[in-house]
C-alpha cells in the first residue's frame, strides 16, 4: 500500500536528514554552500577594513612604516604559527568525524580550542604592552608619540595605523571568541556521539569558519607587523 511505502521510506534514511532534502549528500552540499555564502559576507566585512587600510597606507606610506616598528613581530609570528597549527588540528578533527573516530575527534577539537585560546592569550599580552607603551589612540592618557623612533611629523598618521590595528585585530579576536563558542558546541555534540561517516556536516562547516578566521590573520600579519623593517626613516 502507498502509506506503508511512505513509512518505510522515512525509516530507511538517516535520523539526521532534514525532510526538505532529498538525501544526505544534498544536505551536506547545501550546508557547505550556505556556509560559504556567509563567509562571503565576512569577506565584505573585513574587505571594507582592508580597503580603508589600503587607501590610508597609500596616502601615508612613510608614517605607516615608522608606526609598524612599534609593533612586535615576534608576537605576530608566534600567533600566526599558533593559528596555523589550530587549522591543522581542525582539519584533522573533520577527518576524524568523517571516519567516525570519536576519540580522535574529541582530542582534535580540544587541541583546536587550546590553540585558539593560546592565540587570544598572546594577543592579550600584546594589547597590554601597547597599553603600557602608550600606543592606544582614542584613550586619553594612553597615547604618546615620542622617542628617537617616532618622527614628530608622523604624530597624527601614526594614530591612524594604530586605529586600524586595534579595529582589525579586535574584530579578528572577536571572531576567534565566536569560533571558540562554536567549537565548544561541536565538542558537546561530539561527546554525545552525534557525528559519524554519514553525518559530520556541523564539524565541516564549523571548520570552514575556523579556517576563514585563520585566512584573515594570514593577511593581517604581514600588513600590520612587517612593513617597517627595511625603512630607515629617521
Amino acid at each position: 500500500m502507498a502509506d506503508t511505502h511512505v513509512v518505510e521510506a522515512e525509516h530507511a534514511h538517516s535520523p539526521h536528514l532534514r525532510h526538505h532534502f532529498d538525501d544526505m549528500h544534498q544536505q551536506f552540499d547545501s550546508a557547505t554552500f550556505g556556509m560559504w555564502v556567509f563567509l562571503l559576507t565576512e569577506i565584505m566585512f573585513f574587505g571594507g577594513m582592508f580597503g580603508a587600510y589600503t587607501v590610508y597606507r597609500s596616502m601615508y606610506p612613510d608614517a605607516f612604516a615608522a608606526t609598524s616598528n612599534f609593533m612586535n613581530p615576534a608576537y605576530g609570528a608566534m600567533n600566526t604559527a599558533v593559528l596555523i597549527v589550530s587549522s591543522l588540528t581542525m582539519a584533522l578533527a573533520v577527518r576524524a568525524a568523517h571516519l567516525g573516530q570519536q576519540k580522535i575527534l574529541q582530542i582534535m577539537l580540544i587541541l583546536t580550542m587550546i590553540f585558539g585560546l593560546g592565540f587570544l592569550v598572546i594577543k592579550g599580552f600584546e594589547y597590554h604592552e601597547h597599553w603600557v607603551d602608550m600606543k592606544v589612540p582614542l584613550f586619553a592618557g594612553h597615547w604618546a608619540w615620542d622617542g628617537p623612533n617616532a618622527p614628530p611629523q608622523f604624530a597624527h598618521q601614526a594614530q591612524i595605523l594604530f586605529c586600524f590595528y586595534f579595529f582589525m585585530t579586535g574584530f579578528h579576536a572577536l571572531h576567534m571568541v565566536v569560533g571558540l563558542g562554536i567549537m565548544t558546541t561541536i565538542f558537546v555534540m561530539a561527546r554525545k556521539g552525534t557525528f559519524g561517516p554519514e553525518y559530520y556536516t556541523p564539524v565541516e562547516v564549523s571548520g570552514l569558519y575556523w579556517h576563514f578566521v585563520d585566512i584573515v590573520w594570514i593577511f593581517l600579519f604581514p600588513l600590520l607587523y612587517l612593513i617597517g623593517h627595511t625603512r630607515n626613516l629617521i
Binding site: F33, W36, G47, M90, F212, P222, L226, H229
Partner: protein
C-alpha cells in the same frame, strides 16, 4: 560528501604554511623597495589558496561552491583595484607613490 584526505597531506600543507610564515618574516627584513608588499601579499595569497583548497576542501566541492568561493575573493580584488585606481589618480592627494 568528500573523500577522506590522508593525514600526510594535511601535515604537509601545515608544514608549507609554517615555512611560508618564516619566509614572509625573512623577506620583510630585506629591502626590495616597492616589491616588499608584492612579495608579502603574494605569499599571503599562496597561503590562503592552500588553506582554501585543502583545509576547507574546496578541492572536492561541487562547481557551484567553487564558483562562489572564486567570486568572493575576486570581489575583493575588484574592490582594491578600483579604489587604488581612484586614489592613485588624484594628484592632489598626499603620498601618491607606491610603498
Amino acid at each position: 560528501m568528500h573523500s577522506v584526505t590522508p593525514v600526510r597531506t594535511y601535515v604537509l600543507i601545515w608544514l608549507i604554511l609554517t615555512i611560508m610564515t618564516g619566509v614572509t618574516f625573512w623577506v620583510s627584513t630585506i629591502n626590495l623597495g616597492p616589491w616588499n608588499i608584492v612579495v608579502a601579499l603574494g605569499i599571503a595569497a599562496f597561503k590562503m589558496s592552500l588553506v582554501i583548497w585543502f583545509f576547507m576542501h574546496v578541492r572536492t566541492d561541487n562547481p557551484l561552491t567553487k564558483l562562489f568561493v572564486f567570486a568572493g575573493f575576486f570581489w575583493i580584488a575588484i574592490l582594491l583595484a578600483m579604489t587604488l585606481g581612484d586614489y592613485f589618480s588624484r594628484t592632489w592627494m598626499p603620498g601618491g607613490k607606491f610603498w
